[in-house]
């Protein structure tokens, strides 16, 4: 199955990860959620790792292969 033309799965996955991370940070800053350091650091590292993984699995963007 070939991916749809003009669709970049890495951008989609990265976007979802960034939105989730941004949402967590927003809730923390708004004092809705209290995220201690022992949870915050892993969350940030997991986001960075997830983004790198998504980009690595998806390969280079279209037109640059």
């Amino acid at each position: 199955m070939t991916p749809r033309a003009g669709f970049d799965p890495a951008s989609l996955a990265s976007g979802v990860i960034v939105i989730v991370l941004g949402g967590l940070l927003l809730l923390d800053q708004a004092d809705v959620l209290e995220l201690p350091a022992k949870y915050m650091w892993p969350a940030v590292l997991a986001a960075v790792g997830g983004i790198l993984l998504a980009c690595g699995l998806a390969g280079p963007p279209r037109g640059r292969a």
Binding site: G6, F7, D8, P9, A10, S11, L12, S14, G15, V16, I17, V18, I19, V20, L21, G22, G23, L25, L26, D28, Q29, A30, L35, P36, A37, K38, M40, W41, A43, V44, A47, V48, I51, C55, P61, R62, G63
Partner: protein
């Protein structure tokens, strides 16, 4: 046998004179002439003149000396017509001339930044001037764009950290989410991976600030509080960044518990107490050290609660300290970070656990 023709002696080339160029000039052709004389790109010479001008006016002085003492290469050349670029150049030199009045501001931490700015300006201008397809132009463009992107990333990182620590965390988090939405939207239009960089540049420092509960709102600097009585004693003291020293040795606390709230974003809190005063502590530290009667404890996300048994009627100071990044120290002498013996100098005498326990039990 053939006779070789005697070679005519070649006339010696005239000595290379330093002249001001009439064909490559922005103002008076000094940089053009020097570049031609030294075989260096005149653009680099111009940028060097500008940088040196900010170095106490050295560049401007050198330019004026060359203007007076260096002749032009073609005295018959028509005078220069001033255009936009020359006007801007002369304006910059005029601004630089003003800097001569305050030369000290240049020789400092800004020098590497100014040199970097000069290098970037050179690369960008060279890129604009060169043909689009030239190798040098492409290399210059890549280097310049790389430096600019790195500078933007570092600046964004610092700005996001400062903005978050100054209470703008919600805005920064909103920007992170906006980057995420842009990534998702861009995924269906060929991808928008470039948004990953700004998203991380914003999210990483915000994450660090959130993890350490860093809040630097408030005053900055070194402050010393020395209340002489309970009437002068505030319910709490707050600072953004710096050193807070609270001298409690002259305060006669009433029997029972007296709460004192101390907050600082980045820095240190030192509390001086008399030996016979019972001190209990409830300290939250994002990253740092607490030395308040229970020995020294350091680490990340510290929550130190030193709440020993206290006999009824004993005078007790209960410290409620909140520090984003730094140290809380309780003792009977101020500690000097710059002291001869470093941060474990003799100036600071930490609260001794045994002495404090005895004070809390009323047996001191």
């Amino acid at each position: 046998m053939t006779e070789t023709q005697p070679t005519m002696p070649q006339p010696e080339p005239p000595p290379r004179r330093l002249t001001r160029s009439t064909t490559d000039r922005m103002i008076a052709g000094v940089a053009g002439g020097i570049g031609k004389h030294l075989g260096v790109d005149p653009l680099a010479i111009r940028i060097a003149f500008v940088i040196l001008t900010f170095a106490g006016g050295l560049g401007l002085l050198a330019y004026l000396i060359c203007l007076v003492f260096v002749p032009v290469d073609d005295p018959e050349a028509p005078p220069l017509k001033w255009g936009f670029a020359r006007t801007v150049g002369a304006g910059l030199l005029a601004v630089a001339a003003l800097a001569i009045l305050v030369p000290d501001w240049f020789w400092g931490p800004w020098l590497p930044l100014l040199l970097l700015a000069g290098a970037v300006a050179y690369l960008l201008l060279r890129m604009v001037r060169d043909d689009a397809g030239s190798h040098a132009g492409r290399v210059a463009a890549r280097i310049a764009i790389g430096i600019v992107l790195a500078a933007l990333a570092v600046g964004g990182f610092v700005a996001a950290a400062a903005g978050s620590a100054l209470g703008g965390g919600i805005v920064v988090a909103g920007l992170v989410i906006a980057c995420g939405v842009g990534l998702v939207g861009g995924a269906f239009r060929g991808g928008a991976r470039w948004l990953i960089l700004p998203a991380l540049v914003l999210a990483l420092p915000l994450g660090a600030v959130a993890a350490t509960d860093l809040d630097v709102r408030g005053t900055w600097g070194d402050r010393r509080f020395h209340p002489r009585s309970t009437a002068e004693l505030a319910a709490g003291y707050e600072m953004g960044v710096g050193s807070m020293k609270v001298d409690m040795r002259d305060v006669e606390l009433p029997p029972g518990r007296t709460d004192l709230r101390l907050e600082i974003g980045i820095g240190e809190i030192q509390v001086l107490v008399p030996d016979d005063l019972c001190v209990t502590t409830d300290a939250e530290v994002g990253v740092g050290v607490v030395n308040a009667g229970e020995g020294e404890q350091g680490g990340i996300d510290l929550d130190v609660q030193d709440d020993p048994r206290v006999a009824p009627g004993v005078r007790r100071l209960h410290l409620i300290a909140d520090i984003g990044m730094g140290a809380v120290m309780v003792g009977d002498g101020f500690f000097d970070w710059d002291g001869p013996r470093g941060w474990r100098g003799d100036d600071f005498d930490a609260l001794r656990t045994g002495t404090n326990r005895a004070a809390c039990l009323g047996t001191a």
